[in-house]
């Protein structure tokens, strides 16, 4: 039963390998990869319900009891993210079917996507800090390949920067791990939490937590987002969407875990720093989005805004804010994927990236235009779409915690999002039609299908909040009270 | 090769004849040694050389190798510690009698380990050696002399 926890990671890995043998059978590759994602969605959904009903689930690999072995811990937070990540990936895959091209498909494209998903899911599920590093690397390596695959001048150039920064970040992660092991002598996250609490999170441990903060911030794009705009604007649309939806989220997940589970005891220091970083991130993201002249730039800076906003939730750190962060995290995955697919589709249809060079798309492609508009509204946080509830919860948390600066900057960012995305809508979708009917590039069914799937998620995450809230509450409960997690992982108590 | 297999067969036979409860390595080895003796006595019947003689030749070659290595090292070392270097390096050619990859290779290896000489090139037909000598005036003759010795020792093994 608990063996099912490994499924979201092992199934994509094994499928990815099997696809290597099916290199020339592109159709088969598509079918198998989509079925795989479907299976993962089902399994993670099932696990989520199980966990909500029966509490945190744990899988000790090889049966070694914590803290000695590696383990997967399925709590509602992790499984929610696994589920959403898998859905988003499925959508991006569907989009890729009709856009990525046979050359990529024969170069193991689907294998790399599945491996990326495996890394992402593993990062969400693992309960061992070193294993988190390894899962990160699975994800990163796959992302390195995907970002550079088949690239020309610009793509390779930006990929190189992305890879180099992430490599340095990975080694910094190891520095942090070395310190952590040197100080507390264990790797199990729950056990670390116990030991850190026992030592009262003294300055040495807090210093270590700050090293982790920097490392994960690099991955999450919190303040250290310099790698992000370049690398998100070069790969093929489906990859960019996948990145926008998943990569920074894993970093944020790690940040949230680190500062709610392992190092929650010095919020005056750690959470204040996170708050300051989040505010600067938001301001920078707003500046980038407002000042952007081409659609990809605007979209990537919106990713940064999303990061800042979610991290505000962590910085505030109370139950509502964390619930909001969890909710917003899910929303951001779906909505950012939708946004990036839309942006990519615009570029595909017009061959342009500069906002003012496109016009009147909505006449040619009405459904597409409205889906973009829907995504826009969701990202702004207009109710009853997905962004609203997370925003409300974070706002409530900020007010309850008295963090008004975070509140103001966070809510201001919605306006920047609105402004920047509305500009695209007005300039590119509205206005005189530039594409005559004969020149219309047809939108393939798969492309539209993926957009519709994501749009449906956006709507469901908003209107169907009632179905999701219990899971989010369960997730936040663990984040607020790490002892729930610890009790589930270390039932035999201390040492 | 045939001799070696025969030797193994004798050893196996010996082991079986002993009819012990379980297989013992020591019994096998003793059987093998007995086989060696039998074969040495009988090898002229087959009209070939005793197969372990080749082993002996190899040992002799290795010994030659080590000796040359020692003397060459000492020679080079002497040059190094001499306060003022006074050497005239250069490259010269040598045409060998040896044939086949293994022979040529063995010679090249030995030559390279000889005092002050390194094989730099081999002609396309693997006949002509181009040898770099550390001090061409003093050692060229000496090198050519030891090449002869090596060629002989190698042919002892291979032919």
């Amino acid at each position: 039963m608990s063996n099912l926890l490994i499924a979201p990671m092992i199934i994509p890995i094994m499928t990815a390998i099997i696809l290597v043998f099916l290199r020339d059978n592109v159709r088969m590759q598509r079918v198998i990869s989509l079925i795989t994602m479907g299976v993962i969605i089902l399994i993670s959904g099932f696990l989520l319900v199980e966990v909500k009903n029966n509490g945190i689930m744990r899988l000790d690999f090889s049966g070694w009891l914590p803290p000695f072995g590696i383990l997967f811990v399925g709590d509602a937070f992790a499984l929610l993210l696994v589920l959403v990540a898998s859905i988003v990936t499925a959508a991006c895959l569907i989009y890729a079917f009709s856009t990525i091209g046979e050359a990529h498909e024969k170069m193991f494209f689907y294998s790399f996507v599945l491996l990326l998903v495996a890394g992402v899911n593993g990062s969400f599920l693992t309960g061992d800090i070193f294993n988190l590093f390894v899962c990160f690397e699975v994800m990163l390596l796959a992302s390195y390949v995907l970002v550079a695959l088949g690239g020309g001048k610009r793509q390779l150039r930006e990929s190189l920067k992305y890879v180099l920064i992430n490599v340095v970040a990975s080694w910094m992660f190891l520095v942090a791990l070395a310190y952590l092991y040197g100080a507390v002598g264990t790797l199990n996250m729950a056990h670390i939490s116990m030991r850190v609490a026992e030592a009262g999170q003294d300055p040495v441990l807090t210093t270590i937590s700050l090293v982790f903060l920097i490392v994960f911030s690099l991955k999450a794009g919190l303040l250290l987002f310099f790698w992000l705009p370049g690398s998100y604007s070069v790969p093929p649309t489906s990859v960019a969407a996948l990145f926008a939806a998943l990569l920074t989220k894993v970093g944020m997940y790690a940040l949230i875990r680190t500062f709610t589970l392992m190092f929650p005891n010095q919020p005056d220091i750690t959470h204040t720093i996170i708050g300051v970083m989040a505010v600067i991130t938001l301001l920078a993201g707003m500046a980038g989005a407002m000042g952007g002249r081409d659609v990809k730039t605007i979209a990537t800076y919106n990713v940064i805004i999303g990061v800042g906003f979610i991290m505000i939730g962590l910085a505030i750190g109370n139950e509502q804010a964390l619930m909001g962060a969890v909710y917003y995290l899910m929303h951001d995955m779906v909505a950012k994927a939708l946004l990036f697919l839309c942006i990519g589709m615009m570029v595909y249809l017009t061959g342009e990236t500069i906002v003012k060079n496109m016009s009147g798309l909505i006449r040619n492609y009405p459904l597409f235009g409205w889906l973009y508009f829907l995504g826009l509204c969701a990202l702004v946080g207009i109710p009853p779409l997905s962004g609203f509830i997370g925003k409300v919860l974070i706002g409530q948390g900020a007010i309850a915690g008295g963090d008004y600066i975070l509140l103001i900057v966070g809510f201001l960012s919605s306006i920047a999002v609105l402004y920047s995305l509305l500009r695209i809508f007005l300039a590119s979708f509205f206005g005189e039609t530039i594409i005559v009917m004969e020149d219309e590039v047809p939108i393939r069914k798969g492309m539209m299908g993926s957009l519709v799937l994501l749009a449906a998620c956006v709507i469901f995450l908003g209107l169907g909040a009632n179905y999701i809230m219990p899971f989010v509450e369960a997730a936040a409960a663990v984040l607020v009270d790490p002892s729930i997690y610890i009790d589930a992982v270390m039932p035999q108590g201390n040492e | 090769m045939a001799q070696f297999i025969l030797n193994l067969f004798i050893a196996l036979l010996w082991t079986l004849l002993k009819d012990e409860d379980y297989f013992k390595v020591t019994t096998f080895i003793s059987g093998y040694l007995i086989g060696v003796v039998i074969l040495y006595v009988m090898h002229r019947f087959y009209g070939t050389r005793f197969y372990l003689r080749r082993l002996w030749c190899i040992i002799a070659l290795v010994w030659l190798f080590i000796r040359e290595l020692l003397s060459s090292s000492i020679a080079v070392m002497r040059q190094i510690v001499t306060p003022k270097l006074n050497i005239k390096p250069g490259i010269f050619t040598y045409e060998t009698r040896l044939e086949g990859d293994w022979e040529v290779t063995a010679l090249a290896l030995l030559l390279t380990l000889t005092p002050g000489s390194v094989v730099m090139e081999l002609s396309e037909d693997s006949k002509v050696f181009y040898i770099h000598a550390m001090d061409i005036e003093e050692t060229k003759e000496q090198i050519i002399r030891s090449i002869g010795k090596f060629e002989h020792a190698i042919m002892e093994v291979t032919r």
Partner: protein, 135 residues
């Protein structure tokens, strides 16, 4: 002093000598004038030193633990076979990549064979230049 202890000491001394040889050959690598002569120091003396050292270690383990290390023997054999090949290859590479011989070098029978075209070229160039100068 027992025999085994004497052999043990022999091993230690062997190692010490090996280290001295290593230092000397390293000095050679510094002092000698060109890459070819330096390769003499490396391929011969360094090989000798490593062989002695490994023998020393082999003897040590044999005597103290009664352990015959096949790995050490294999290692010795391996170095024995490969070191000269390495020297040969490097020298050849150096020569073919036009690393010059030391100024002191006397004869070079390889040059005309290996770089025959080039030698001709040089000569032809000179003739050409002379003709141009005349015209």
């Amino acid at each position: 002093m027992s025999v085994s202890e004497m052999i043990e000491w022999m091993a230690v001394i062997m190692i010490l000598v090996a280290s001295i040889v290593a230092v000397l050959s390293a000095i050679g690598m510094i002092r000698l004038p060109d890459v070819y002569t330096r390769s003499h120091a490396a391929t011969k003396s360094a090989t000798l030193s490593v062989l002695m050292c490994l023998m020393g270690a082999f003897i040590h383990f044999w005597l103290t633990d009664g352990y015959i290390s096949i790995r050490l023997l294999l290692g010795i054999m391996f170095v024995f076979i490969t070191a000269p090949v390495a020297g040969h290859l490097i020298c050849r590479a150096a020569y073919r990549s036009r690393v010059p011989l030391a100024d002191e070098s006397e004869e070079d029978e390889l040059k005309t064979i290996l770089f025959a075209d080039e030698v001709e070229h040089l000569e032809r160039d000179e003739v050409e230049r002379a003709r141009n100068a005349n015209a």
